[in-house]
């Protein structure tokens, strides 16, 4: 209500040097820590109120882990997350439980994310009851209103999840998150499991809700074309690190990281005159257990290869550098990313499907 800070002054969410390592236990009794999966390895970004930040990257690069750590579903190894200046990692117990309503999540799997033994009314109404936002007598009216908001039939309130399609189930999941009046929602591949025709409907529901309620989204996806349409800014992750972050227009027009260039080249483009040539990344993603020294992308980097594998890429870890307003990228040689270089690295074929799926 009363918001003294002018728009954009304090970010809604402030993430600094967030690290999440999963220890790998070993030894005779499995008690000693022998290594760690570096799932998220020093990620920082701000999220303004009302904005959508897209987060893309290959499978296993740590997108979901980042989301779950923000949501306090996993303990962070180090780093900080602030919600309007409040240190999220310092909150415990009942205070944490009540604070959770501000930060919600929608999961990828519309089947696994709904309790098969509860009705839609119980599923959607559970949060407001737990948060003390409604009484049991008002619950049904509230749930009906929420169902209408996400485009579901209000009379289906007593139905069970198995009586709905995937897209409808995802709407139920959205209604459940909305029910506790969140400020921000982590959308972890919310449409990846849906048919293409249903995807755009669900994306539209999300956009409409954002507009109506002023929601802030962290939209995780491995599909750059989905992210392009819904995001204000896009972050690209590779092996636990944010390698580029920019406004959506800038990122698609002039990417400043060779990994982003390769991802963009894999988006299917229906218009042949605008079709980009495809850059196929060779090799496998290196193991997150023992990430390579220097630049993590170096082993697959077409630009580094073109520049004759400079020593710097293998020894020195690139930091995020500014490239114009709001655009940062972590590459030593961003300036070498000329159209000619991209052209030369591309294969002739332009029919590449998503290289990321």
């Amino acid at each position: 209500m009363a918001d003294p800070a002018p728009d954009g002054a304090t970010p809604l969410l402030r993430v600094r040097d967030l690290v999440k390592h999963f220890p790998i236990k070993g030894g005779l009794l499995g008690w000693s820590r022998v290594a760690a999966v570096h799932a998220v390895d020093g990620v920082s970004f701000d999220l303004a109120r009302g904005e959508t930040l897209g987060l893309v990257g290959e499978s296993g690069c740590g997108k979901s882990t980042l989301g779950r750590t923000l949501l306090r579903l996993l303990p962070a190894t180090s780093g900080s997350v602030e919600l309007e200046g409040k240190d999220l990692f310092a909150v415990q117990g009942e205070e944490l439980r009540l604070l959770r309503s501000r930060l919600q999540v929608v999961f990828q799997d519309p089947y696994a994310s709904l309790n098969p033994r509860m009705t839609v009314g119980e599923i959607v109404g559970e949060g407001p009851l737990a948060q003390g936002m409604t009484s049991s007598s008002e619950r049904e009216a509230l749930v009906r209103e929420l169902l209408a908001k996400v485009g579901l039939n209000q009379t289906h309130i007593h139905r069970y999840p198995h009586e709905f399609s995937g897209g409808q189930r995802q709407r139920i999941g959205i209604a459940r998150a909305l029910a506790v009046r969140p400020e921000m929602i982590v959308l972890d591949e919310p449409v990846s499991a849906l048919d293409v025709s249903v995807q755009s409907q669900v994306l539209n529901v999300l956009s409409d809700l954002q507009e109506e309620l002023g929601l802030t989204y962290l939209f995780i996806s491995h599909n750059l074309s989905v992210v392009q349409h819904i995001s204000d800014r896009v972050g690209v992750m590779y092996l636990g690190k944010l390698v580029e972050l920019a406004e959506v227009g800038a990122l698609y027009a002039h990417p400043r990281h060779p990994y982003t260039v390769a991802l963009l080249s894999a988006i299917p483009e229906p218009d042949p005159t605008r079709r980009r040539k495809r850059i196929v990344l060779g090799g496998d993603v290196p193991s997150a257990i023992d990430p390579p020294a220097g630049c993590r992308f170096q082993s697959r980097c077409w630009l580094s290869e073109r520049l004759g594998n400079p020593e710097k890429c293998r020894t020195e870890e690139p930091q995020l550098r500014d490239h114009g307003p709001g655009q940062v990228a972590a590459c030593h040689f961003s300036e070498e990313l000329t159209p000619a270089a991209v052209e030369a690295a591309s294969t002739g074929g332009s029919f590449g499907d998503r290289a990321l799926s």
């Binding site: 999540v105 098969p116 119980e122 559970e126 949060g127 198995h162 459940r176």
Partner: protein, 305 residues
């Protein structure tokens, strides 16, 4: 109606919700169960057997205990439809009463082991930590004792009889149930819908009660059903070995035991064969019903149903 206060309307609505919940899921389970042919066959067989065992003594009074020396080892006749056993007792009466004993032993020991196993599994799985470690090590110890040893020691201390049989079978089978319940709970802890309710701020205790426990009823019912079959077989085996119910109480296992005499095995099949057939029928039917329940109660199977 419309002018009424909120409270009764609310109660009515709450009732509707509860009623709707059960109807929806139960109806779906029934629909899927009835589609399962063998399960239906098993259910009909089982109901028939139970009905006969329960009603026959009332409808046609027969005496399974008192010997009739005219009927000593006699083949089936009009007076004794399945003939007489080696003590001259009516085989039909003994099969029917023996079936009762078997069913009581089977169901009784399932109640015992499902209760113990569920309690242990629930405590271990929902508390975790030290309680979990201690309870699971105790479970491991029970699993590492050979069942027959456990049974013989128990019976020799407590003495034979239907009650001891029920108790000892319960004692043999509870660790599996405990492990199942604990495993289910650990799996559910990671389930996305559980994570989702944690995110909306549901208290941990309510998550266990509302989201986790209701979702183990399906697997538990299946285990309990198959458990009835195992328990009936074990009871028969114990009676066969003389560790079961006390004679002259009829028991299917004890009737089959009379076939240990070669002449009976070869020349007087009416003494032991009916009991064998009834046990086979019960065990097979129970297993078919278990299969049907497994399909009917698995919510994941309903994906696009």
């Amino acid at each position: 109606m419309a002018a009424e206060t909120l409270a009764p309307a609310e109660a009515e609505r709450a009732e509707q919700i509860v009623a709707g919940e059960h109807e929806g899921l139960v109806r779906m389970a029934v629909r899927r169960f009835t589609r399962h042919r063998l399960a239906m066959l098993g259910l009909v067989t089982l109901v028939t057997i139970i009905a006969i065992a329960a009603l026959a003594p009332v409808l046609l009074p027969m005496d399974p205990i008192t010997p009739d020396y005219e009927n000593l080892g006699m083949p089936p006749s009009a007076a004794h439809l399945l003939g007489g056993d080696l003590s001259g007792r009516d085989v039909l009466a003994r099969v029917i009463y023996g079936t009762r004993v078997s069913l009581i032993a089977g169901l009784g020991s399932v109640v015992v082991f499902v209760s113990i196993g569920t309690a242990v599994g629930l405590i271990a799985g929902s508390l975790g930590g030290v309680a979990d470690q201690v309870l699971m090590r105790i479970t491991d110890i029970f699993l590492s004792i050979p069942p027959l040893l456990l049974i013989i020691v128990f019976i020799s201390i407590v003495g034979a009889g239907l009650g001891s049989v029920i108790a000892v079978i319960g004692l043999v089978y509870w660790p599996q149930t405990a492990r199942l319940v604990r495993g289910q709970l650990l799996g559910l802890r990671e389930a996305e819908f559980v994570t989702a309710s944690r995110v909306i701020g549901v208290r941990e205790r309510e998550i266990v009660v509302r989201h986790m426990i209701p979702n183990i009823f399906g697997p538990l019912t299946v285990v309990a059903t198959f458990g009835v079959a195992s328990a009936i077989l074990l009871e028969a085996a114990l009676s066969f070995l003389g560790l079961g119910v006390k004679p002259p109480t009829p028991s299917l296992g004890e009737m089959i035991a009379s076939a240990r005499t070669p002449s009976v095995l070869q020349e007087q099949p009416w003494v032991w064969l009916p009991a064998g057939i009834v046990i086979a029928l019960i065990v097979m039917s129970v297993n078919f019903v278990g299969d049907g329940l497994r399909d009917a109660l698995d919510p994941k199977a309903s994906r696009r149903g």
